[in-house]
Structure formats: structure tokens, C-alpha cells
């Protein structure tokens, strides 16, 4: 029962991959696997940030827009040959700042984060659209793409970075007091308050962290290309929530594992690739994703059936 969720996800992943491989040999080639890992790397950090926000009992709908702002402004800085390290600092810092604004409004005015970030999503998306005038950022310098194309042991840098941070997070979440407070607040807000844990501080910090991770993801994802579309990041928040939910995190908060989210991300990217290989037109992408999410949730619920009856 303890292994339950992650094991199931791994199983589904393996079965799916095997199935596609049988129908279309060549699926499990290095190239495909690399594409899957790369797509996962791009989403991974944002998904982890989203997981933490959901565990704390909130929802952040703004990360797609935040990512866009960070990616585009960083790219524009790169046009002026700003060094890579500074670009990272800029992107993460900006993301953290935008996340902090979400946090401040949520905490100070006691408004559910879902609404605040709903507004933030519109505001930042609108801003960046106006800022770029709809134009895509082009002619980026070589060093920009270097981040996305440098390979270690045949895997590109973003994959290493994202997955290392992901694995590190699995351990940090257990060992760092702040993260334990995140779980506590999500599990029982009132009790947390009684025991002296500041819900406001936790909410503020977790939203800021989510922003910072979005900023980080921005560079990882944008650095793969020579051009940055002005609508980059659209729909990211919902994919992140989907991966989180598939990974077994409870949408009501208090419960969730980073391992699950990582597997959730992998599953979603594998599905996308599978659809391509099975010659199912990409137009059906979202339909499948939606149905997978439904299946994951339904199986969750059927398992927890009896418990809910007792709560009446």
C-alpha cells in the first residue's frame, strides 16, 4: 500500500512504452527517449513547484505567464550579450519576485491564491504580449543555445539540471523544516496555527518558490530554441497541475510526493510521444491527456471509497 501509487505509475509507463514499441519498433530508441526526457525536464521544475503549492492547500494559476515574462526578458537580455550566469539570476529572481507579489496579495488580503493567481495570469500574459508587441524574440546569440545543446554523456544539460534538482528536492522535502511546515499547513490549517506555524509565511514562501522555479524552467525551456514565441508557456499551469494530480498528490493539500510528480511528468510526455508514434494526429493530444487524468483520478477514488462514507 505504501509503494502503491508510484509503483502503479511506473507500471503504466512501462506497459505503455512496451505497447508502443511492439506496434512501432523504434519507439524505445535513444532519440525518442531523449526527446521524452527533454520535454520532461522543461516541465519538471514547474510541476514540482506546483506540487508544493497544492500540498500547502493552494493553487497557482500564474506560472505559465510568469515563465513567459522570465523567458522573454531573459532572451532580450541575451540579445545584448548578458552572460549566462546573470541571465539565470535574472530569470529566477524575476520569477521569485512575481511569485512574491502573488504571495503578498494572498496573505495580506486573505484572498484565495487561486483568484490572485488567476488575475496575475491575465496581467503578466497581457503585459508580455504588449511588451513584445506580439513579435517573437529572434536571432539569439550562440551561447544561448549552448545551454540547451551541450551534452554530457549524450544527454543535454537541461535534462541533467532538471532531474538532479528534482531528485534533490525529494530529499530536501523530507529534511528541511520549512517543507514539513508546508505539509502541516496543508493538512490542518487550524492545528498549524495553534502550534505556532505561520500559515501566512508558509503560503508566501511557497508561492515565491513556485515563481522562482518557473523562472528557472523558463531558461531551461527557452534555451532549446533560437527563437522565443510570444505565447510561450501557455497552458503550463494546467499541465503542471495534471502531472501533480496524476502523481498522487491530494488536490485538497497535506499529502503528496515529489517522486509521484516526476513520474506524472514522465507519463504525460511519454503519452505525447506515443501518440506521435502511433500516428494519432496531434490534434488528439489534449483529448488523451484529459482521459488519462480522469483514469488516474477515478482509480484513486475507487481505492479510497470506504473512507469517505465514514466521514458522513
Amino acid at each position: 500500500m505504501k509503494l502503491g501509487r508510484e509503483f502503479t505509475l511506473l507500471l503504466v509507463l512501462v506497459v505503455l512504452a512496451t505497447f508502443v514499441q511492439i506496434v512501432h519498433p523504434g519507439f524505445l530508441s535513444f532519440r525518442t527517449i531523449h526527446v521524452i526526457l527533454e520535454n520532461s525536464a522543461v516541465m519538471l521544475l514547474s510541476a514540482i513547484g506546483t506540487t508544493l503549492v497544492i500540498i500547502s492547500g493552494q493553487i497557482d494559476l500564474s506560472i505559465g505567464s510568469v515563465l513567459a515574462v522570465c523567458a522573454i526578458t531573459s532572451a532580450q537580455l541575451a540579445l545584448h550579450n548578458v552572460p549566462l550566469v546573470l541571465l539565470f539570476l535574472w530569470s529566477i529572481g524575476l520569477g521569485a519576485g512575481l511569485g512574491a507579489i502573488n504571495g503578498l496579495v494572498t496573505v495580506l488580503f486573505k484572498v484565495p491564491a487561486m483568484i490572485v493567481t488567476l488575475a496575475a495570469m491575465a496581467i503578466w500574459r497581457g503585459f508580455i504580449l504588449w511588451w513584445t508587441g506580439g513579435y517573437w524574440v529572434t536571432d539569439l546569440p550562440d551561447y544561448w543555445k549552448a545551454l540547451g545543446s551541450t551534452k554530457i554523456l549524450n544527454f543535454t544539460l537541461p535534462i541533467w539540471i532538471a532531474f538532479s534538482i528534482g531528485v534533490l528536492t525529494i530529499f530536501l522535502v523530507r529534511k528541511i523544516r520549512f517543507f514539513r511546515h508546508v505539509y502541516a499547513v496543508g493538512s490542518n490549517r487550524k492545528a498549524a496555527k495553534l502550534l505556532g506555524i505561520s500559515e501566512g509565511k508558509v503560503t508566501f514562501l511557497v508561492l515565491t518558490l513556485n515563481g522562482a522555479l518557473a523562472g528557472f524552467s523558463a531558461l531551461l525551456s527557452a534555451s532549446r530554441f533560437f527563437i522565443i514565441p510570444s505565447n510561450i508557456g501557455t497552458g503550463l499551469e494546467l499541465s503542471a497541475i495534471a502531472a501533480t494530480v496524476i502523481g498522487g498528490t491530494n488536490i485538497m493539500g497535506g499529502k503528496g510526493k515529489i517522486e509521484g510528480t516526476i513520474l506524472g511528468v514522465l507519463l504525460m510526455t511519454t503519452i505525447s510521444s506515443s501518440l506521435v508514434f502511433l500516428h494519432i494526429e496531434s490534434v488528439w493530444d489534449n483529448a488523451f491527456k484529459g482521459m488519462i487524468i480522469l483514469l488516474a483520478i477515478i482509480s484513486d477514488v475507487l481505492r479510497a471509497r470506504r473512507k469517505s462514507e465514514a466521514r458522513l
Binding site: K175, S187, N188, L194, L195, G254
Partner: protein, 504 residues
Amino acid sequence: MENILELFQISKSFPGVQALKDVDFFLRKGEVHALVGENGAGKSTLVKIIMGVHQPDSGKIVLEGKEVKIHDPNHARSLGISAIHQELAVFPDLTVLENLFIGWQPGKFGFVNWKRMREMAETKMKEVGINLPLDEEVGNLSTAQQELVQILRALLQNSKIIIMDEPTASLTADETKVLFSTVRRLKNHGVSVIYISHRLEEVFEIADNVTILRDGVKVLDKAVKDITPSELIENMIGRKLETYYPPKKAKPGEVMLEVKGISFDGILKNISFKAHKGEILGISGLLGSGRSTLAKIIFGILKPDDGSIYLEGKEVKINDPMKASMLGIAYIPEDRHRQGLILPETVRFNISLPNLPVIPRKVLVDIAKEKELSQEMVRRLDIRTPSVEFLTMNLSGGNQQKVVLAKWILRNSKILIMDEPTHGIDVGAKNAIYHLMVNLAEQGRTIIFISSELPELLGMCDRILVMRKGEIVGVFNRGEFSEDRILALAAGFAEKEAVGGAGG
């Protein structure tokens, strides 16, 4: 024995109400001190001041001989004062081990030292004799165990004063025994306990001293061995309580409800009994015996796996509460706040909610009629509320319970299942509820009275069913009542009594 905590002339007021006036309170080292009083007497305000949640307007607090100001709960904790809460302050998704240390985990630089936590927990558990599964999610534990988690947490933080507010509210008799022996062990370790409870028999069993509050003022404090139950009650309510349990004249009539062979999910096994018109049928049993589950089945919240229900001889299928209420069945639930009322809404809203299908209307709700009817109920049941537009969340517990009853009296329900109706209600309001119950029975209605307080069952019922682990193990008619035998059956010490009496 010296005093570990002394409160001198504590006063506290909130907008519109003087909660405490010049109250003195003295707690000795290693004693169990009960704090009693009706709802609104000021007990919880006093305790919140000790815990640092509120600051007193005047007066001083002396802890271990030194005057202190308790700024907030964290500060209180560092001073050695902890509390176990009614709304359990535990984290259901986290493990026992983690729950013990939340908010004060050992470890440097923001890191958590799990190894140290485990060592500390295991040592303390051995020391005090409390055993808990450290790696289990607290949400999977019983209420009793969850309370033990809170007690253990307090001990780990070296609390010298532990405040327990209605700790036995959701415990079985066995679990209460364990709690009491734990409390006695705490005394031996020099820990003092402030014990708040409405269950006066517990005061006499576990407490050394008792302080009585009434209307924000301290009325009496005495050693428990020097006070009698009636003296205690009279001081709490300020007057003599003549007829505590009102007498019932009418005798039960024909069979109103018959339950045959009801089984449910291992919780209920082959339950059969009859209830009559004009009868107050008590159901006794410990927590976990299945009484509430049985009530929920009769009310349509749950569906039985097996068995049938008959109303006035005809079989009925009760699919949901709407159907149950159409058939004349009412359920006054155990959890008043969560199940019994819609707290953020008005008295009128609550009283009319289950009655909407029957308040005469065209298509829309007839508000004038609604107002009229709910005002009538307020009058009839003597509900203390400024108006029917008052929010139920602002009423006292006793008045809230009356609103719950009003819903079903308006509905003219023929069968009323009352699940712990006097739970957490002060003595005066309890009495009012008892009178109402007798009134309803004398009108020919059927009352099924589920309670853990044996005295009130013995005082009020025509018959008592005893349930244990999902079965009916005994039936007693009024003449045969015996506290000891009922308790023994409920706890499983005696053989099943002849169940022939279940038909009455």
C-alpha cells in the same frame, strides 16, 4: 504542595460581554483540577488566557512563584503550558512521529533530525507507558489515540501544565479508562492537569479539586472529596434542580417502527427491534457499537446490506434523508455543528430547510410563512435568540440544539432519533431538552434516545437496548434497570441477556 500556577483577580471583556470578572484560580503541582460551569460561564476564556491566546484586561498571573505575561501560545508552550484540544490539533496526513514534533523539530540550520526525533519519542513512550505506532498516519488512528498523540507531544515539550478540554467527548469507556490512568501517571511525574468537562461523573472520578465558574465569576473552589454532586450542580446553575428528569405519564402504545435483520459492512450484525408510539427507547453502548450507524441507516444516509424496515406494519425503503423525512423520521445528529446545522445561516433558514417541501408555496419560497412558522418554533421551544434572522453560529450550544429540534418538530415527525442530544450542553439547557423529549413522547411520538450517559438513559427511558460491537446484547424494561448490568453488557463482561425483550 505549592501552587504551580496562580491567577489573581483576572478580568476580561469582549465587545458586549464581560467574560471574566475578578477570577482567582490556583493550581497545585501534580494535581488534577477540574474547571466546571455552564456554557458561557467563562471556562474557555480563562483557559485561553492561560494559554496565551487572550490577554487579561486586569489581574496577574504567577507561574512557579514568578509573575509572568503570557504573550502567545508559543510562549505558553515554552513556559511549560500545553493544551489538548477538542478539535483535535493533529495533522491527519502526517505520521505520529512527525505530529509529535511539528513546530519544534530538533535540528540545526532549518534541517530536521529524524533520528533524534525517533529516539526522543521512543524514550518518552517507554517512560510514560504510552504506546503509539510512530510511522502510522495520524488520520488512520482512533480519536483516543489522536488525543494520546497530543498528550505525548505535551510531555515531550516538558509541559508542567496540561489543559484538557472535554477530552473524553469522543472516547469509549475503555479508552477513557486508559486516558485516566495516563492522567494519573502524569500526576506521579509532577504534571498538573486542568480538566474541563461537562461529564460531572468524571470530575468525581479523576479530579482532586474543582473550581466552579458561573457568569464569569468564580463561585466556589473545593476539594472534590468535600463536595457532593448536587452541591456541585446547584452551584453551577445557581438554583436547585427539582425535577432533573421530568416524569412521563403516558405509556407506550402500538408498534411504530420495526427493524428486522439489519446488517451493514461488518459494523452491524442482524439488528432487530421494535419501537412504540409514545415510547422513549434508549440505546446504550460504547463508541463503536454501531448506534449512530444504525440511526443513519434508518434515516437514509446509509444503505444496509441486508434487512428491512417497517413503519406501522408496512415495509418501507428509505433511500435518502428526503424519503426518511417524508415518512416521518427525523434524526438529530451527534455532531451538531457539522451535521445538525448550517451555521453561517439564520435560524429561519435552518428551521425551514428540511421543511421546504411542505411549507405551502406557489413555486417560490413563501418567506412570510417561513418567518411565521420559525417564530412560532422559537416561542414554543424557548430558543434564546434576538430574532429568527440571527445567525445560528452565534447561538449557545443549548439554543443551537433547540434549533435542530425545531426543524423536526415543525415537520411533525413521528419518529425522532436523537443521537447524544445533550452532548456538550450545560445543565440548564439539558433539562429543557429532557422536558421537550417527554413532551414529544406524550404527544404519541416515538423517541429513540442514543446516549453514552447512562444516568440520563436510566432517568428518561421506558426501555433500554444495549448494543455491543454491532449486535443487540440486552434489553431492559423500566423496572429492571441496573447500571452495573447495563455497563457490564456494553463492555462485554456478561453473557447476552434474553433478547426476547427486544419486542417490548
